[in-house]
């Protein structure tokens, strides 16, 4: 893409993109720290994740303000317009992902004093790591304008959904075996659901990247993997 005749316009757009990258970095870290704090029963780390969400929120606000300024002053069209719309939506998705990480960290604080459900912490961490990898890839796809990679990320959400399905059934089994597991399993289930929602938001970002590059939202439906709405028992 050629540079603008007005170089200040390019600088404005670059500055916003830098903010998005910074925000994404913090969100990636929050996801992994939230999962780690659960596994290690590390309440200090959980507290740091909760406090860190304020920085993420502030960055989203700053991105919104900068984007509004560019819209008002430059009246962007075509690819520039799509770039601004994309930045706004990506920032909104990142902010939501940050909220889910914060919510996980909150539950860690509650879970430290409760019995451990075997294998669930590690499974949640694997799920979180996969979402974090998707997020990292979608950021690369965004920066490089790589539609193929964005499409790949979009399809990978299916794996997250399957991991979530498996955990859902596992928690159900534990709860049926011993009602004293219910409180723990409920919290863990919310955490799994949080990660599953993060995957959906990363998928939204992937679709936005495809729109940014091609000018069109992907039409082709992707496989919906969350089947838990139809589950009636743990078998």
């Amino acid at each position: 893409m050629n540079t603008h005749i007005s170089s200040a316009y390019d600088r404005d757009l670059d500055a916003i993109q830098t903010l998005v990258i910074k925000m994404a970095g913090l969100v990636e870290e929050a996801i992994m720290s939230a999962a780690k704090s659960l596994e290690m029963r590390d309440t200090d780390l959980a507290d740091r994740v909760r406090a860190g969400d304020k920085v993420i929120d502030a960055l989203e606000l700053q991105i919104n303000e900068e984007a509004a300024r560019v819209i008002a002053l430059r009246a962007p069209v075509s690819k520039d317009l799509r770039a601004i719309l994309t930045v706004l939506r990506i920032a909104a998705s990142l902010e939501r992902i940050g909220d889910y990480a914060k919510n996980m960290a909150k539950r860690t604080g509650t879970l430290v004093d409760m019995p451990v459900i075997a294998g669930s912490d590690a499974a949640l961490r694997r799920m979180a790591r996969e979402v974090q990898a998707m997020l990292k890839d979608i950021l690369d796809a965004y920066l490089r304008g790589d539609v193929a990679l964005a499409e790949d990320v979009r399809q990978r959400d299916h794996e997250i959904d399957q991991m979530y399905n498996a955990l859902f059934r596992e928690f159900l089994t534990f709860m049926m075996e011993d009602p004293r597991n219910i409180t723990t399993c409920m919290h863990l289930h919310f955490m799994a659901k949080n990660v599953e929602r993060m995957g959906d938001l990363v998928t939204n970002m992937a679709e936005q990247v495809i729109y940014l590059v091609t000018g069109e939202m992907p039409e082709e439906a992707r496989p919906k993997g969350d089947k838990t709405a139809y589950v009636t028992d743990a078998t």
Binding site: N2, T3, Y9, P76, R82
Partner: protein
């Protein structure tokens, strides 16, 4: 380029070439322009958009060294046919210019002049009616009705431009050509003229040349991008401004070094 054929186009240009002496200003332009639609021509200075606009009512005939080849049909009839009287043609295809250019006559006479020479009114009452109707359509009636006998040149710039629009529509044209109609107007007068253009769309096929990308985006439904005498891209205006297909269009509308 995308296929631009449409059903029942008002104007249909085929293989149009325009030369000023040895210099080719328009290169093989094919375009179909719809009725009751505002079509914007955009492009950098010297790209041929005004030259092409002036072909549509044979204004280029007045330039000796100018030569037009190809075919321009209005309602299926070739306007460059020897049988066509350019004066009649220009009554049917009205034009509004960059700088408001009212005649040094009263407001009334400015509007009444065209209908008079074309014999569109049988008596004073009919002429009065045409003048009032035209001024109303041009959204100037309320401001001008009490000073119809005052000189048109005494109006403000925006009012003068609306007077020129009233003058153009007084001869009951079917097509209105506008060459940068707002470039000499302030933002308020511009907004009024743009509002007017949107209303005129109900009755006419409007073709507007503009340097303001935002104006093209605001007033038109179709946009044609010209570059170096060629028609590069022609599509729905929202398509041109959100997702143009040609990189030259993209560069031009987003203010890039192309």
């Amino acid at each position: 380029m995308k296929d631009t054929n449409m059903q029942n186009p008002k104007i249909s240009a085929k293989g149009v070439q325009v030369y000023y002496g040895d210099n080719q200003a328009i290169k093989d332009v094919n375009v179909e322009i719809a009725d009751k639609t505002v079509t914007a021509f955009i492009g950098p200075s010297g790209c041929g958009k005004s030259t092409f606009l002036r072909c549509l009512n044979r204004m280029n005939d007045t330039i000796d060294i100018c030569r037009v080849t190809g075919e321009i049909l209005i309602d299926g009839e070739d306007i460059y046919d020897a049988k066509v009287d350019p004066v009649q043609l220009r009554a049917k295809v009205g034009m509004v210019f960059q700088k408001p250019n009212p005649f040094p006559k009263s407001i009334y006479d400015n509007v009444a002049y065209g209908p008079k020479i074309h014999g569109l009114a049988r008596n004073k009452a009919e002429l009065d009616e045409i003048v009032e109707k035209s001024l109303r359509k041009a959204a100037l009636w309320n401001e001008a009705k009490d000073r119809l006998d005052k000189p048109g040149t005494g109006l403000s710039g925006g009012q003068q431009q609306r007077l020129c629009i009233a003058r153009a529509i007084a001869t009951a044209p079917e097509i209105l050509l506008m060459d940068e109609p707002c470039s000499a107007l302030d933002p308020i007068a511009t907004a009024q003229v743009e509002e007017l253009i949107d209303e005129l769309r109900q009755s006419y096929s409007v073709v507007i040349v503009t340097h303001s990308m935002q104006q093209a985006a605001r007033v038109s439904q179709k946009t044609a991008f010209f570059h170096l005498g060629s028609l590069v891209e022609y599509d729905d205006t929202d398509k041109i401004f959100t997702n143009p297909q040609d990189p030259r269009t993209e560069s031009y509308i987003s203010g890039r070094i192309g």
